[in-house]
Amino acid sequence: MTEPREALRRIVIAGAGQLGVLAAIALKRALPSAEVVVLGIPIDPGALADRAATALPFTNRLHDRLGIDELALVAKAGASHRLITRYVGWGGPGQQAAVPYSTGTEPAMASRFAREWGGGRQGASMVASPTSPAQALAEAGRFAVIPPGEAGPLAEIDYALRWNPQAYRDLLIAIAQQLGVSYLPGNLLGVEPDGHGGIASVSLTGTEPIAADLFVDCSGPSAALLSTLPDFETLDWSNNLPVRKLILSRPGRPLVALEDRVTLLPEGWRYELAGRDGLQVTLGIAPGAAEEVALRALGAPPLIAFDLEPGRCIDPWIGNVLALGDASARFEPVAALNLDLAHRQLDLLIEMLPGRRIEPLERIEYNRRASLMMDAVRDTLALHYIAPAAAVQFGPIALSDDVERLRDQYERRGRTIFREEAPFSNSVMTNLLIALGFCPGVPPQEKTQNTQAAVSALNAKVQSALAFAPQYTSWLEGVLANLARA
């Protein structure tokens, strides 16, 4: 007869950034009896999942399950909402399009709008395609979060959050402390192998060696724990992803907006992240662009620049050590996927939480699915660099079969391809392809409903959303005032 597995007794998380602390919360909630220890070892400034001031809609659902209240993020972590990301110039000069997380129409219809009304290379000179409710709301500055389960014209609008990473981390630390997670600061002195390909204990300055059943490596690109293991191997993505240097700006003026913007420039790409604490700009420098020229393109005082070596671990889980975030995969933040991937990996770990004795087969299954996640991220990023106008400054890159197939199928047939563990649904992927300026081909089976009916249906959704939604800034002020009173 089946037996419950002996539960993990002690879990050590290396790295106390926003990712490590959230991992601690998730693990402690899953296993309240386990001792969860976060090691405050220094994190590389290039740990993009820890620096990220935004994620994607998946994170909202993860927060929800972990009891992290969105309004608390608004009150204490400067959180604001993003309905769309606007891509500018990727299809050619003057072309731009929004990527919403919810489109209000089917992917096939979205492609058809793009084909018939613009988007793609001819986009600039054509009438813009019908607008999604999310885009109309973002442009009108109208939105309010609807309580879960409530119907209405805003119920279908999905969104991402941005926040102040420092304040967000502080808020998570408070929750972790409440749950009984312990914290040990120090520098990593060494690791003691366990003789089975994993780690028996780690030593920090000023402490006894700390043993654990499971080590979660959230230490950033150096993968401080995982990289000490004999079976550690990495996969280089430098042929697939051309950006080698990133520059981040100091925060600018506070900007409460429902959209962020990614612009293609001769020097690379510029990601403008709005926020209540100030606009933050990230520049991904194209190969061959001079750094001084790139600095001008940043358009804001620089805060930090660092090198990027894109790649991933072949196996992010070896022995009893599992790497999340930059410790498992490193790539540019052009699509806000860094923390999203880390959170999806964390969710996978919670789903597949091992017992004290880790089964090799569950490690294999975790690594299989985590690898599908990472490769789908790499391929989503690669699409940016083969966008019609981007290929010029970024040059040729190596493409996976999946990217080749997607591009071919989309351009010839207007068809997107389902992919296991992908970051975006087919619907969001379709919008991203349109925004990047790929021209959708004609699917053999155009929808039987005519375009006019679909446009009318979409316009009706837009009108009712606009009529229903308050001004986002007033809504936000109201929420903050209520929270302050409470």
Partner: protein
């Protein structure tokens, strides 16, 4: 105006069985103006008429083609299907229903079955089927369509059990209405392009010729175009799925017997036997392996065991399990048995034909020639579908303790594909199911078969032991009670069918 003239692709469908008419009607309905469809069939060639039982996906096909469900069910004498009752598979005397639905709900991200395993270990849980609305409704012979919300009433789906020999003709009438041209005749020769090897025309016995751009081979096991003409290689899977015959015998309903909203699959010494309740009769068949049982003995077995009074003598269907290496080669696409066959244990035949049609429509050549990339993509998708189904079917035979016949000794001890061995090991060691979101048969299905066949894992998730057992028991009891109440509120299956028929008659 201004759109360039579209020259319709001339599609020729060879074969007028289920796959043939599903393909012809599907293309005519969903690619209007892009294709002309000619179908050639011969009354001299019988149809296998496989797939009396279906999967819920068929509803999507019926709906997309704009077919009224009630009219369709009336024409094919269909009943509703909530799952399959497997008897004597894990061991003699045991049974379980593989439902079109889930068992319980995940709690705090942990699958329901881990909590169930924990409670069952302590002797506090009922059979896992008690916690599935589909199973409970099936066992009570009740049916009502599911709701589309997030309530308990939305936790199941349904399919149909119908007379497959009537389904083809129903689709034929529909297809002809949609503009499919039907040709009665026998194909005597196939013309090919000498340069590229494409099929260019079918020549019929009376001298007519059917020219085409695209040929859909629905000629059944003969695989006239894909197999015989193009000699596309056959990948044989009979080492894992040794059944290669079915002894089939329709019977009348037994008087006073309830109409089951599910199919029954009973393991037999050399295979298994189906019972499929239709409105007007019972479908019966013994799927067996000719290596372990001869045809006469199988016929005797079905006569001895069939449910109801025989309406005809048993007849033998012969098949082999496997698939063509490529289902789309040159300009020929195999749909149905001409491209591959997986025995009907999980009612997948019509599903596999339907998916091939769906993918073909997505990848349909419209701009002149066929692009090799579309052909590769089609074959990739079809392979994925076949592989998933294959492993799941093998599981039913391999996860057993039966040692009462040579057949069961063989399937119990055979080496299974590595892909399945890994899945079974992961389950055995940890109670986890390998996850995928594309293709057929997800977690709930694998769990149903594993647990139903006594393949209890050695361990389950430690988190299931965190809440006090009484707390889990209370939650499970509440769920079972809610399911019982919901089932009691459902009409009897036969009553529901009759009321639907009355509604249809009134509307007409």
């Amino acid at each position: 105006m201004g759109e360039h003239e579209i020259k319709p692709v001339r599609v020729v469908v060879l074969g007028g069985g289920t796959a043939g008419w599903m393909s012809a009607a599907g293309i005519a309905a969903l690619l209007p103006g892009l294709a002309t469809v000619d179908l050639v069939e011969s009354e001299d060639i019988g149809i296998v008429g496989v797939g009396e039982a279906t999967l819920p996906h068929i509803r999507g096909y019926v709906e997309r083609l704009g077919i009224d469900e009630a009219a369709f069910m009336k024409a094919t004498h269909a009943t509703y299907k909530l799952g399959i009752d497997f008897r004597d598979f894990g061991s003699i005397g045991t049974s379980y229903i593989h439902p079109f639905g889930s068992f319980g709900e995940s709690v705090a991200g942990l699958g329901f079955h881990h909590y169930w395993l924990e409670l069952a270990r302590q002797g506090l849980a009922g059979p896992i089927g008690d916690y599935s609305l589909a199973v409970a409704a099936a066992q009570a012979n009740r049916f009502t369509p599911p709701l589309h919300d997030s309530s308990l009433a939305s936790t199941y789906g349904y399919a149909y059990q119908f007379d497959a020999t009537l389904f083809g003709p129903f689709m034929r009438d529909h297809g002809v209405k949609l503009g499919v041209t039907r040709h009665e005749g026998l194909v005597t020769a196939v013309e090919r392009d000498v340069e590229n090897g494409n099929v260019t025309a079918l020549l019929l016995s009376d001298g007519r010729r059917l020219d085409g751009d695209l040929f859909i081979d629905c000629s059944g096991f003969r695989s006239l175009l894909l197999g015989q003409e193009l000699e596309e290689d056959w990948e044989d899977w009979s080492q894992w799925l040794p059944c290669d015959r079915a002894a089939v015998m329709p019977c009348s309903h037994k008087k006073g017997m309830p109409l089951k909203p599910y199919t029954t699959a009973s393991a037999m010494p050399a295979g298994w036997r189906w019972e499929i309740p239709l409105q007007h009769r019972m479908g019966n068949g013994y799927v067996f392996s000719s290596r372990f049982l001869d045809e006469d003995a199988a016929c005797a077995e079905i006569e001895a065991n069939a449910c109801g009074e025989p309406l005809a003598d048993p007849r033998i269907l012969r098949f082999r399990t496997g698939r063509r290496r490529r289902s789309w080669s040159h300009n020929v696409i195999g749909v149905g048995l001409s491209s591959g066959f997986l025995e009907p244990l999980e009612s997948t035949s019509i599903y596999l034909a339907q998916m091939a049609i769906t993918y073909l429509i997505e990848l349909f050549p419209t701009d002149g020639g066929i692009d090799a990339r579309d052909r590769d993509e089609f074959n990739r998708l079809v392979d994925m579908e076949y592989d998933r189904v294959r492993d799941f079917l093998i599981l039913h035979y391999h996860a057993t303790t039966r040692d009462d016949s040579e057949f069961w000794n063989h399937v119990r001890t055979m080496k299974v594909p590595d892909s399945l061995a890994a899945k079974m090991d992961l389950w055995r060691r940890t109670g986890r199911v390998e996850k995928y979101a594309d293709g057929l048969f997800y977690d709930a299905s694998w769990i149903a078969v594993y647990l139903g066949q006594g393949w209890v894992p050695e361990t389950h998730d430690s988190r299931a032991a965190i809440p006090p057992p009484e707390q889990i028991k209370r939650a499970l009891d509440r769920l079972r009670e809610a399911i019982t109440q919901q089932v009691l509120a459902m009409p009897d299956h036969r009553q529901f069918l009759e009321s639907e028929a009355a509604r249809l008659a009134e509307a007409a």
